[in-house]
Symmetry: C2
Subunit: 241 residues, 2 copies
Amino acid sequence: MRIIIATIFPNFVRVVKEYGVIAQAVEEGKIEIEIMNLRDFAHDRHRTVDDYPYGGGPGMVMKPEPFFELHDHCKQQFGDLYTILTSPQGITLNNKLAMELSKKKNLLIFCGRYEGIDERVKSLVDLEISIGDYVLSGGELAAMVICDAVSRFVPGVVEDESVKRDSFYNDLLDHPQYTRPVEYRGLRVPEVLLSGNHEMVELWRTAESLKLTALRRPDLFLARQFSVEEKKALIHLIQEL
Amino acid sequence: MRIIIATIFPNFVRVVKEYGVIAQAVEEGKIEIEIMNLRDFAHDRHRTVDDYPYGGGPGMVMKPEPFFELHDHCKQQFGDLYTILTSPQGITLNNKLAMELSKKKNLLIFCGRYEGIDERVKSLVDLEISIGDYVLSGGELAAMVICDAVSRFVPGVVEDESVKRDSFYNDLLDHPQYTRPVEYRGLRVPEVLLSGNHEMVELWRTAESLKLTALRRPDLFLARQFSVEEKKALIHLIQEL
């Protein structure tokens, strides 16, 4: 798949494809990430992308033309587009939505800045997405978050086994992890992880996942259909009471 | 205030303080953002920050020592720290939490990577924060989001008027914005915004905010105590039915 991010800060956004598993996937051709500069589609001498809001008020509003022309350009170059606008008014990103978006051929993400974006740009947009109930200085970080979360679901980007163990994939939070040394500043690794007993390790990990989910995310716990392994882990937890 | 981000990818995270209002606030000394490299606190020849998980399983786990030593170093250099770990198991960031965090003197943010982070690191952590119900390749983007959202509440970073009009500040979504041209590709700016009648503009904007909130975020709408202006806008909407 291809993800295109339209921004006035291409050098800000670019880092998303230069580090970690995403960089590796780009290098291996498993995903294409294009960063496009909205200013390349502004035609005045100063390549202006913003202007005053009609009706008054503080701040500036992003002009419609650069978005429309960039959209035209991408459609011509790449074909069908699924266009996203990062916006606090959008529906909230979650892992399920990220997975659905990973099936699109071309995902175009518009980053807003300033006080907002001319409302008419929304006629190009298939979906407005928010990454959470907080305000950011611009859509760039949101676009980078969408790009990362979506990329992880593209086949081959992350090892399957890793994706399946991730928090939220199974709607359970992750169990604790430990590495060397066995003891550090008086804090020890739980004995079960040193036992070499794989069945006990799995039981402990499932129990810890369930415990963390019950305490931190009762909503996920309540919505869950438990597997036999999870029920065994629940018995194990109850026995410890 | 000071925000310190501890990461293995300092050049990734650095961009958060190089663009837009955050860059300006840093330049004006309204906020300090320090990016620290966890590898500077690893002492072997390869500056190793990860190791295999006890109990087996895929992927690598971040070692405890670099986090502990970086924490010691910051405490010595800056004094009291409020330490955050970015984690899918954390409580979800929202604007209210961002505002509370903006009152801390020193906010230290630990970025996790790989399969996770040695559980003992959590003994240093005051709060685990998630930015949403999706999985990212690492804590870097989450730390940048927290840094941006928190910085906006530091006095002087963003104009007060802008913060107050932001979505979520008042728990209402933002009204639409328009700028020139009046007509573009057959799409026109609503007449009321061209009227010059400030009272009508404000009424329209409040009504549009309420409409968008009712349709997209009924949870916010239901939780709201309406002001007189908002009730007037609701009458205006009902008259249009």
